[in-house]
């Protein structure tokens, strides 16, 4: 298996100690990554898609040397994880934890120049690079202000800029559009796309299906520490070719959703709450035949149906087909 990033059977298990009284404690064990295999090619824009708690950030933290894996091996930019960590750090630009990774008492420019120094850039280069990033992300008006006065979106932009400071060949971005408004998110995705076109390899984690669909060359769908599906967006959608997707909006209870999933001809049904409304996604190889039975089952469970829409297969449907859950579900182990 070759690639700019190679991951072989990578596993990570957390051991957490819970205090119970002054002298008593109990230990719990959480398997966050279960034998991940991946290869990411140079110049690829690779998406890691999964719900909160799927293991995306744990994987990113392992690849950026912040976390020590429990098992397996990985190579980043040709350097072996845990053996050549400093070489990996020098050749990766990473955006992790967004605004929390900045010094709020320093200005935007001071932050960028400081992080440039951590990558051993010469003082003049630091200043030039900081100015380039400020221009690229249109941060000029706020660059001299303390970060504590920035809006959440401006902080995210600056955190993204920080990941560019060492002009690394590999960019790892962990949910970079979190807390951004729609236009800012669109702008940031455009910058990511442009950087990728200029040859940068990008690993982009998200739980927003449309982001992965519009941006990524290939996507790995991750859930509960495992890669469930891997391929280009058309390949992943084609894996559900025989299924059709119907979305039903309205007031729908969990019991009604379970009743629908039990109907003959329905392969999957998943309920998600969006903007106060419930959306039931139903997959079936024969949607027309199933529709009357479906309405009957919903009505029997006092559901109020407002809209029934046949839809194109999306990456979220691929996720639903594999897990029976939606990307909005939080799968973190409590």
């Amino acid at each position: 298996m070759q690639g700019q990033v190679r991951i072989e059977n990578l596993g990570k298990t957390y051991h957490a100690r819970q205090r119970r009284g002054l002298f008593k404690s109990s230990e719990s064990r959480v398997e966050a990554l279960k034998g991940i295999h991946l290869a990411i090619q140079p110049g690829e824009l690779f998406g890691l898609l999964g719900p909160n708690g799927a293991g995306k950030t744990t994987l990113i933290k392992c690849l950026t040397t912040l976390l020590l894996p429990t098992s397996g091996a990985a190579w980043v930019n040709g350097y072996r994880l845990t053996e050549q960590d400093n070489l990996i750090r020098a050749t990766v630009g990473c955006m992790l934890m967004g605004e929390r990774g900045l010094y709020w008492k320093l200005s935007g420019r001071e932050n960028l120049e400081f992080f440039g120094a951590l990558y051993h850039l010469m003082p003049a280069t630091r200043r030039r690079r900081a100015a380039e990033i400020i221009d690229l992300l249109e941060l000029g008006e706020i660059a001299e202000r303390a970060v504590e006065t920035y809006s959440s979106g401006q902080k995210m932009k600056l955190a993204f800029g920080k990941a560019l400071i060492n002009d690394a060949p590999l960019l790892i971005l962990d949910e970079p559009t979190n807390t951004l408004d729609l236009p800012s998110a669109r702008e940031l995705r455009a910058v990511v796309g442009a950087l990728n076109e200029r040859g940068k390899t990008v690993i982009y984690t998200t739980h927003i299906m449309s982001e992965a669909e519009t941006l990524c060359d290939r996507v790995a769908i991750v859930d509960r520490g495992e890669v469930l599906a891997l391929g280009s967006v058309p390949e992943l959608k084609a894996s559900l070719k025989r299924e059709a997707v119907t979305r039903i909006e309205g007031i729908i209870s969990n019991a009604a959703a379970r009743a629908v999933e039990g109907l003959p001809g329905v392969s999957r049904a998943a309920l998600a709450a969006v903007n106060g409304h419930n959306t039931l996604t139903v997959m079936s190889p024969e949607p027309r035949a199933v529709l009357p039975r479906l309405i009957e089952a919903l009505t029997a469970h006092q559901a109020v149906v407002q809209k029934i829409v046949p839809e194109e297969v999306t990456l979220e449907d691929v996720f639903i087909a594999r897990t029976g859950r939606t990307l909005a579900d939080d799968t973190r182990v409590k």
């Binding site: 051991h15 912040l66 070489l87 020098a90 010094y103 008492k105 120094a117 010469m122």
Partner: protein
């Protein structure tokens, strides 16, 4: 080691220059942040001067005839207290401030950002020490000035030897600070309480504000086991010109050997402990934990 982006080819520093440049950038960052809290800065300075005044005025109860008499009769006592106070200030600052700094960045999330870069972790710890050194140094000079003003000129014999002992004791103290930073990564906020406990233990066992002769006999063997106690003893004995009975804990040669070993070994031991704890945090995923 270089970032390999095409725009930065040949624009990175290497070797000791890279290390030094990182250290300077970190020190500048610490100082800039410190200067952006002006009220805290002024208050902490004022607080030290007030503590010095309280201690000196309390000492006057043993010399009811006044300040001048106190200075004449007990220049030795003033020296014991003043020079002990210097070491106490550095110890209390380094013991907690390095750990506090690391903990603050752990909570903020910036500690994790530091670990994303190839920057030297030793330079990171050292930058926190450097700022402490400058700041505590300035406060010490001000405190010593105030003491001289209140009690007259402090004894200052054997200055080169005194400075040498102080440098070695500080080096060891910073090593202790690194070890404490390691402990803080593990026990988090409890580190502050533990630091207070250590400070009070130091105030008794290393006798910075009174002669060792004031300690009960059963505590003296414990003091002799603490390298920093020998540092306090050798430092003030040297500056007071070795009056009768000083140094109190051991012959000077032995005290110097203990202080030298403490100053040379402790920074590396402290750093080793810090790296060990940092690896544990990387295994647990707690580098950015609240």
């Amino acid at each position: 080691m270089a970032a390999t982006g095409p725009a930065l080819q040949g624009a990175t520093l290497r070797g000791p220059r890279a290390w030094l440049s990182t250290l300077l950038a970190m020190c500048r960052k610490e100082l800039t942040i410190m200067l952006r809290y002006p009220v805290e800065l002024v208050a902490s300075f004022g607080q030290i001067l007030l503590i010095v005044m309280v201690l000196t005025l309390a000492g006057l109860m043993f010399s009811p005839t006044g300040l001048n008499t106190a200075a004449d009769q007990s220049g030795q006592t003033a020296g014991v207290v003043a020079y002990g106070f210097v070491l106490f200030m550095f110890l209390s600052d380094t013991l907690w401030s390095i750990g506090y700094n690391v903990r603050r960045e752990q909570k903020q999330g910036t500690l994790e950002q530091l670990y994303l870069s190839p920057a030297s972790k030793f330079a990171s710890l050292l930058s926190r020490v450097t700022v402490t050194l400058v700041w505590t140094g300035a406060m010490t000079v001000a405190a010593a000035g105030l003491l001289s003003l209140m009690l007259g000129r402090l004894p200052a014999e054997n200055l080169p030897l005194g400075v040498g002992v102080l440098a070695l004791a500080l080096s060891g103290t910073f090593g202790t600070g690194f070890a404490f930073a390691a402990l803080t990564l593990r026990i988090r906020e409890a580190g502050q309480t533990l630091a207070n406990l250590f400070q009070f233990a130091f105030m008794i066992l290393c006798a910075p504000f009174f002669p060792f002769a004031a300690l009960p006999d059963w505590l003296l063997p414990v003091s002799r086991l603490i390298p920093l106690a020998h540092g306090v003893d050798a430092f003030r004995s040297a500056l007071m010109g070795f009056p009768a009975g000083y140094p109190e804990l051991a012959p000077l040669a032995l005290e110097l050997a203990v202080v030298a070993a403490f100053g040379l070994v402790m920074p590396w031991l402290g750093y080793w402990l810090y790296r060990r704890e940092e690896n544990r945090a990387r295994a647990k995923g707690s580098l950015s934990e609240y």
